[in-house]
Each structure stands twice: as structure tokens, then as C-alpha cells.
């Protein structure tokens, strides 16, 4: 029970920090950046369940993000639909698209899966970019409404939007936590470890992979829809390949296949790229080598490295008495050798 509390400590800390932040630092700019970071975190959590826990690296998720954003944008702007219904529908549309893409793409594995989904993501971008009559093409979509009121609660102010998106993020984390710590999550991890073994354990791998794929498309769509109503203007760029690589960077830096990874990675990279803004595009000169080094030495990111360190420390504590004895023995030996010499 104590270990459970200790394991969840980071989450409690994160919730407290998230709730208190607007009071401690009432700065509109920081609030805006942090709200955006929360939106990315939702998408990264989705990607993490697929790439980190099931072992399928999808590069189509920027496309799904854009589909969610445009889904919400078009439904609210062109049909004047209620925001919350549009939000739900945008997620459903993205999930349905995920189902279709998943049915085809999950027949491939590893690099082939990555390449295939990369193409899917790019095609989604192209469709949004070129389908002028529906999406407005390069001109983008403007006038997306902010979330409509729920009873007495309105979301007109930046702070209320911040808390709304923070709530969605916490809900995402809760769902992820529960999935990962369940038989369903164990099933996904078994697929990641070895698909052949999973199948001989009676696990229908296709069914499970498809389930994850649809679920992650849902979260990418949710993040996209929240983005659309937060920024209130969207262009085809949000589906471009650079977005998926941004998401991937957040995930890799934080720790792929860890629950805290998406928060750590996203926060760190967003904060770093904001504070290094004066360097403009030269920032990449710093990020590139740093990322490469991180992947070489800590393939499971910062959180993964922390887990390994804790494991090692625990190991060391257990074997320390033994080691000390050995140390004394060798000391005696050297003493003997000195005397004999």
C-alpha cells in the first residue's frame, strides 16, 4: 500500500501543481503555453498506449489529430452544432477512421507499419490541404467557437479553458492508468513482448491491436478537437508530418511505455523550446544531438532511466552486506600479500 502511494506520488504532485499554477503564476502567456502542452499530452498518452505498451509505432496520429480538429471545426462552424455534441462526434469520426486504417495497417509489423501509417498521415494532410470546398484549404478554418456553457459554468476565460483541458488530461491519465494496470493492459504488453508467444497464450492479437489503435485514434481526435476550440483557428499544418515527430519526441524524451513519460517529456520539451525561442530554428541544433544521446543512453527516456536507477538502488541495498564482506576479504588478502611480500 505504501509502495502504491509512492508510485502515485508523481501524479498527486502533478495534479496539485496543475491546479495551483494559475494562482501562483498568473501570467496569460504561461497559461496559454501550458494549456497547449496539456493538449499535446493527451495526444502523446494515446500514442504511448499504442507505441509504448503494444509495440506499434504509428506515424498517422498527426493525421488523426487533424481529423479531430477539423471534425469539431466543421461541425460547429458549418452546421452550427452544439459544441459538446460536436466534440463527441469529432472523436467518434476519428475513431471510425482509426478502425478502417487499423484494419489494413495492423496486418504489417515494425518498419512496414511505421511506413504505412506515415503514408496514411500524409494522405490525410493532403486531403485536408486540397479539399478546398470543405476545409478551406490553406486558408484554414476560422471562427471555431469556444466550448459552450455547461449549466452555470462558462469557458470564455483562458483560466476556465485551462481547467477544462486539464480535466480532460486527468481523465485521459486515469483511463490510461486503469487500462495499463489491468488484464487488458497486460494483454497489450504481452503483444509487445512477443506476438507469437501472445498468440500461443490464447490472445487474439488482431482484435487487441485493433482495439488499441481505435482507442489511440480517439485520444488523438480528442486532443485535436480541444486544440481547435482552444486556438479557434486551424490550418492543414496541424496534420503535417512535423506534428507527429513532435509528439514522438515528447514521448521518447519522457519515456516510451511509462505512465509519467508523456507529462515529463511534453513539459520539458515545450518549456525548453519556449525558453530557447531567441535561437529560432537553431534550437534544433541543440535538440538533435541531445535527443540522439538520450536515445543511445536511455532508450526508455527520462522516466525509464529513473525506474532503472531505482531498481538498481534497490538491488544494491539488498546485496550491500555481501559486497562489504567481499571488500573486507580483499583487504585482508592485500594485507597478507603485503606481509608476505
Amino acid at each position: 500500500m505504501v509502495s502504491l502511494l509512492r508510485n502515485r506520488g508523481w501524479l498527486i504532485g502533478f495534479i496539485a501543481a496543475g491546479v495551483l499554477f494559475p494562482f501562483v503564476l498568473p501570467n496569460a502567456y504561461f497559461l496559454h503555453i501550458l494549456t497547449l502542452a496539456f493538449i499535446w499530452m493527451i495526444a502523446v498518452y494515446g500514442l504511448n498506449l499504442l507505441a509504448g505498451y503494444t509495440g506499434y509505432l504509428s506515424l498517422a496520429h498527426a493525421g488523426f489529430f487533424a481529423v479531430g480538429a477539423y471534425g469539431l471545426g466543421l461541425l460547429t462552424v458549418k452546421t452550427g452544432m452544439n459544441y459538446w455534441i460536436a466534440l463527441l462526434l469529432a472523436c467518434v469520426i476519428t475513431s471510425a477512421l482509426g478502425l478502417v486504417v487499423g484494419l489494413v495497417s495492423l496486418r504489417t509489423r515494425e518498419h512496414f507499419f511505421a511506413i504505412y501509417t506515415l503514408c496514411v498521415g500524409y494522405i490525410i494532410y493532403l486531403i485536408i490541404d486540397k479539399w478546398d470546398s470543405l476545409t478551406g484549404g490553406v486558408r484554414g478554418l476560422i471562427g471555431i467557437p469556444e466550448p459552450s456553457n455547461i449549466g452555470p459554468i462558462s469557458f470564455q476565460t483562458p483560466i476556465s479553458q485551462y481547467y477544462l483541458i486539464f480535466a480532460f488530461l486527468l481523465l485521459t491519465i486515469l483511463i490510461m492508468y486503469r487500462i495499463v494496470h489491468s488484464l487488458t493492459g497486460r494483454t497489450f504488453i504481452a503483444i509487445r513482448n512477443s506476438e507469437d508467444l501472445a498468440r500461443t497464450l490464447g490472445i487474439s492479437t488482431m482484435k487487441n491491436k485493433l482495439m488499441v489503435f481505435v482507442l489511440t485514434a480517439f485520444f488523438a481526435g480528442l486532443a485535436g478537437a480541444l486544440y481547435a476550440s482552444f486556438i479557434r483557428f486551424i490550418g492543414p499544418d496541424i496534420g503535417y508530418i512535423t506534428i507527429i515527430f513532435d509528439l514522438l519526441t515528447y514521448l521518447l524524451v519522457g519515456g516510451i511505455g511509462t505512465l509519467a513519460g508523456p507529462i515529463v517529456g511534453t513539459f520539458l520539451i515545450v518549456a525548453l523550446s519556449q525558453s530557447l525561442q531567441f535561437l529560432q530554428d537553431y534550437r534544433m541544433l541543440i535538440f538533435g544531438p541531445l535527443l540522439t544521446l538520450l536515445i543511445i543512453f536511455y532508450p526508455r527516456g527520462i522516466v525509464g532511466a529513473y525506474h532503472d536507477w531505482r531498481l538498481k538502488r534497490k538491488d544494491a541495498q539488498r546485496t550491500r552486506p555481501q559486497k562489504e564482506q567481499e571488500y573486507f576479504e580483499t583487504e585482508e588478502e592485500t594485507e597478507k600479500q603485503v606481509k608476505e611480500g
Partner: protein, 254 residues
């Protein structure tokens, strides 16, 4: 007779890995498949467990034709297997690695996981209990909470056994269970296999260690170049001319 193959054949392009093999697996016995390297033993296993689909021939399980069933459906019928290499998740504990083994006997889904339903709690406990039970059976209770990466090779083999047993199998296929471990440990695993048979689980294994097989197996089949060259008890196999030639080379006089 628990399982039976009829004229089982598998071709990879021009290569015939398994050719026209008739074999029966006797219920409640230790059945062994031996043969030189590249004889098609592992391919034969993959055909039985559904990993490969045969080019020709049929596989029967309790009289039921399971030739074209996918491996997960075959596993649910009560057929388990281990692989030559272990696929453990090294960062997780031994117990965590084994829990998923009983997944196929549960039905809780994403919904149950997210909403923590009564079925979720019941089945989580059921799988945990099953994992403890099989870990006790393979005598690994003492390393249950260790990360799987830190246990010995022999213990990893036992975890693979436990994982197979957690599926509640009637027959377990073991692909070279004692490869890469020392003679003393081999004996321990051999007695574990006998213990499985005493529990009513049929065992079928591929093995290279002749001494152990001759002592252990009730029935042996010898494969060479994909074909069955002999079948019978260990005495019959030891005195079989074709087997001796296959192992010692054609011109040798035994």
C-alpha cells in the same frame, strides 16, 4: 490418443521441412520428438500449435480437425507451448509475467478495466491466484517478486513452463526445454515434466539430450530431413538401424 497428425507436410518454397508425417500423441504420457539439427522438429511443433498452416495433411485434437485454426483458438482448446528462446518482460516481476497466462480463461474487456467492474476484480484475482498456483507448481515462489531479468537461466525456463501451465492446458509442447542449462538443472526440469504428467497433463517435447530423453520419454519419434524415420519406445529407438545411421552418418557400422 490426444492429438494426431495425418500425412502432415509443410513446404517453404522448394524446401520440404516436414514431409508426410503421421504421429500420435498419447494422453497422459511424455512424448518426445528427436532428430538431428534441421530435421524439422520445430516446424512440426509450429504446425501442431497453429503457428504455421500445413501445406498438406491434417491435425486432429481429440478427434476434432484443427488443421486451419489460428494459434489463439488452439490454445483455448487446451494446447500450450513454450519457445526455445524465452520472451519474458525483463523489467516486470516474475509474477507479473505469468499473470497474463490465464488471460484466455477470462472475459473482462476494456470497459471492465476502465470502470473497475465486479467482473474485473474477480478476474484479476483469478489470474493472480492462478499465477501463484503455477509458480508454486514449478517451485519458483521464492523469486516471485524479483524482476524477470535478474533470475537464472534455469529459473527462466521454469517461468516459461509456468506461463504455459497458466493457460490450463491438457497438453504442453516444450521446444528444447533444457537447452543451455547444466546437467543438474536438467534433471530438475525432467522431474518437473514427470510431475506435470502426474497431474494429468500430457507432455510433448523436442530435445537433444539423448540420455535424458531415453530415460524420460514413454514414446519417441525420430525425424530426419522432415521425414519420420522411427517411432516407438526408447529401447526400440536405440536399436533402430535407421536412427543410428541418421545420427552417426550413413556408412558407420553400429
Amino acid at each position: 490418443m490426444l492429438m494426431e497428425t495425418k500425412k502432415l507436410t509443410k513446404r517453404f518454397g522448394g524446401l520440404t521441412a516436414v514431409n508426410d508425417v503421421d504421429f500420435t500423441i498419447e494422453k497422459g504420457k511424455i512424448n518426445a520428438i528427436i532428430g538431428p539439427n534441421g530435421a524439422g522438429k520445430s516446424t512440426f511443433f509450429n504446425l501442431l500449435s497453429g503457428t504455421y498452416i500445413p501445406s498438406e495433411g491434417q491435425v486432429f485434437y481429440k478427434g476434432q480437425d484443427i488443421t486451419k485454426r489460428p494459434p489463439d483458438k488452439i490454445a483455448r482448446l487446451g494446447v500450450a507451448r513454450t519457445f526455445q528462446t524465452n520472451h519474458l518482460f525483463e523489467e516486470s516481476t516474475v509474477l507479473d509475467n505469468v499473470i497474463v497466462g490465464h488471460r484466455l480463461r477470462t472475459s473482462s474487456n476494456l470497459w471492465d478495466a476502465v470502470f473497475r467492474t465486479r467482473r474485473f476484480k474477480f478476474e484479476e484475482k483469478k489470474c493472480r491466484d492462478k499465477a501463484m498456483e503455477v509458480l508454486d507448481f514449478v517451485e519458483l515462489t521464492h523469486v516471485m517478486d524479483e524482476p524477470a531479468g535478474s533470475i537464472t537461466q534455469e529459473e527462466k525456463k521454469r517461468v516459461a513452463f509456468a506461463l504455459a501451465l497458466a493457460t490450463d492446458p491438457e497438453v504442453v509442447f516444450l521446444d528444447e526445454p533444457t537447452a543451455g542449462i547444466n546437467p543438474g538443472e536438467t534433471e530438475g526440469l525432467a522431474s518437473l515434466m514427470e510431475k506435470m504428467v502426474q497431474r494429468g497433463i500430457t507432455v510433448c517435447l523436442i530435445e537433444h539430450k539423448m540420455k535424458m530423453i531415453m530415460k524420460l520419454a514413454d514414446k519417441i519419434m525420430v525425424l530426419n530431413y522432415g521425414e519420420k524415420i522411427a517411432e516407438g519406445t526408447s529401447e526400440e529407438i536405440m536399436n533402430n538401424q535407421a536412427v543410428i545411421e541418421a545420427y552417426l552418418g550413413g556408412g558407420a557400422s553400429a
